[in-house]
Amino acid sequence: MKRNPDSALNVMGKTTYIDDLPESTEMLHAAIVCSPSAHGRYERLDTAAALAYAPGVRVLEASDVPGQNELSTSIPDEPMLSTGEWHFRGEVLALVLAPSRSVARRAAALVKLVGREDLPAVVDPREAYAQGKLIMAPRTQRLGDPEAAYADCDVVVTGRVESAGQEHVYLETQGAVAYPDDAGGVRVVSSTQSPSGVQSIVARILGLPMNKVEIETRRLGGAFGGKEDQASGWAALAALGAYRTGKPVKLYLNRRDDMTSTGKRHPYSSDFKIGLKKDGTILAFEADYYQNAGAATDLSPAIIPRTLFHAANAYHIPNVRATGTMCRTNLVPFTAFRGFGGPQGVFVIECAIEKAARALGVDPVKIQRKNLLSEGDVSHYGMRMDDVRATDTFSRCMDKAKWTELRAGIAAYNAANAATKRGAAAIPICFGISFTKIMLNQGGALVHVYSDGSVSVSTGAVEMGQGVGRKIAVVSSRTLGAPIDSVRVESTRTTTVANTVATAASSGADINAMAAQVACIEIKKRLVALAAKLRGAAPEAVDLRDGYVTVGGVADGELSFAAIVAKAFENRVDLSAHAFYATPGLHYDMKAEFGTPFYYHVYGCAVVTATLDVIRGSYRFDDAIIVHDIAESIDPLVDMGQVEGAFAQGLGWACLEELKFDDAGRLLADTLSTYKLPDAHFMPRMDVEFFTKPNPKVVANSKAVGEPPFIYGLAGYFAVLDALKAARPEGPSFHDLPMTPEKAMLFLTGDLGAAVKGL
């Protein structure tokens, strides 16, 4: 059987996460004291009752931070511990340490605010915009002249689009365990996507050089972007505790604390204007995105450009203006989540197309197909698109779905049924691969081959279920010619591979497997040279394949991989290599908003069908047909899991998961009993086909896979909307995600107006 070693440990329950690490008797457990409302200030904390609650309780406040009390990696607006004013509900005011977790939690509940004064809170991004509360200046990307182009259009449609935030619900909540070391530094085991990012924040908080801070991450119980910048605070709090007490400190959030205090996908409120010819050609598109950034900068300035880059989705539009505004509100700082602002951008153009199709009286698919990108098109951010696969994947998906027959079948069904209606929709994708911040597109690897032939590979990549470890192992094994079972991918440690970037932007395998490959090539070169010498052959005739040295293409039975490695050790050949990889060809002019920010794009298309219960507003998804541009998959099972899982999350965001805040900034869905996730029944039958044209730009001709398929979930929104329109053709288009059954019900009864903004 072909095996994935990490899966074997997982099915046995033997993998360890933060909460499974051994706890020594001297370990202290931490609990957080959180702000009680969305905005306010206080004179001081009264910790007397907490300290008196049990022996060994300690309370740490901002004044206990020896270094700089700041978590932000850009604008310094996010103190780790509050200094007298809080800006969102769930902000950390103090850290309570105690010998047990339950004592720490109970003591934390006894910390009181003295001189509390609540201040006005803003939760709506447009209101924040009106009040001038911006994170930084808006950004605009522009191509052609949309204003002038509307004159040539037969139809011009405007509209407003809302998309709610989304909670990551990584099943393992955030946490870290910090151990003081004998040299005055700390070692932290952190549930983070970015060990080097955590390292620099912990060093800053403690006022230590980075070489006194080691971060290790073995694996994460899910992350999806939520443990990128947002993991730093929990690791730094644990580190502060360890630094101040000299004892190991564990901080592991329970689900409610995690949902209340950690960032999520950004809610957006947007306006669009689209102009088309009668034949469906889009001539002009404008969009204004009001991003609800929350109370601190976090990654919002990196997320906004990705929204703008995806403003036109998979379409070529000659006249575009897209403006993104980061609005500062009194909600939790919103952060990275699979797609990183891209899905919010795609939703707006797809809403515009849906509404325009209605105005033109055509199937939206007609407009989608008519405007797909072609080879050599220049995007609205100035990138010349090459190896474009938009039409290939769209057409294949339409063929698989038998779109014409499907439409006719649905029309016949809807004519014959009053109590239930069916609907269908398609979503093409074109997702840019590379971190939008160019400096982040770099990675390192350290490969050791031990004298017995076993191989150890370390990179900056963090395994969080996406299978990056598996891909690195496969690439290393193939490159070295070593058996796959002999390759071990190590935990991610800042002392092994330094200055790494977050495992994010779908690029974990692209960057880190590539770095590992470069290191393996270097070691292989040395082994081949030795084998050539030993066998008296020309180096060009010698290779290492499938566990053996080959000479002239014939395996040398006496020189297995382990045997040549043993010889290399005897002959004093270096069996280790470090390598570095930086994605080539990226450049972007932020002032002109023009350049080549992406190495390549991932294409694909999804068709989703739904059946609506007209009496109840409830619906079920029937089928999802997906054609996805995977190129040459390094591990097809792993990639299939990524596509299906991303689609499920996208469908959850589009239809089910309602991240509801009240007007006072309180998260109403702060547990898994009030925040509804997709379960096994929610998912449609899935038929995923891989489009396998190789991608020579990337390691093993592969393509990145993590984020792009998330966007397919939007097809679910439009499939239900299609069914709703069949049930009530006179009802208006409404673009307010998620499409919950409650909203569907209100649409059917004609009562939606009060619930949906801008309708």
Binding site: N4, G221, R255, V638, L672
Partner: protein, 161 residues
Amino acid sequence: MRIQLTVNGLGYERDCAEHRTLLRFLREDLGLMGTKEGCGMGECGACTVIMNGRAVNSCMVLAVEADGATIRTIEGEADGPSLSDIQKAFERNHAVQCGFCTAGMVMSVKELLSEHPKPSADQVKEAIEGNFCRCTGYTQIVEAVLDLTGSPEKKGELEHV
């Protein structure tokens, strides 16, 4: 209160606070860390174990309620290093991504198969509807069970490289 119970075939007798959940008891008193806490309120299923033949959320059962009970956890599923058939099927079909839901998922499937050795895809979905997986979209999990039982509803033919 003093309780006696059998976990994975071994008998235990322990003093236990009345408010202690079975999940905490298994993890902290018996050191069986394979069972995970995902939400602590009976919604996510990560803490599923089998108690007297029934899959239960161990965060919603008090340890004292398990007095006299027979419990199976993920640690009792494999026979030493050799995986059970369910575990092999999960691995073979890549029904595991981050792994955090896996122990509970395997337990729910175990209960299903003890009653329905040849379940339909719908029965599999029903059996795991109390187990959230945030990674897979569930298809590969359902496929794993259908593969194990030789169901004609299984469709995927992919395998690891």
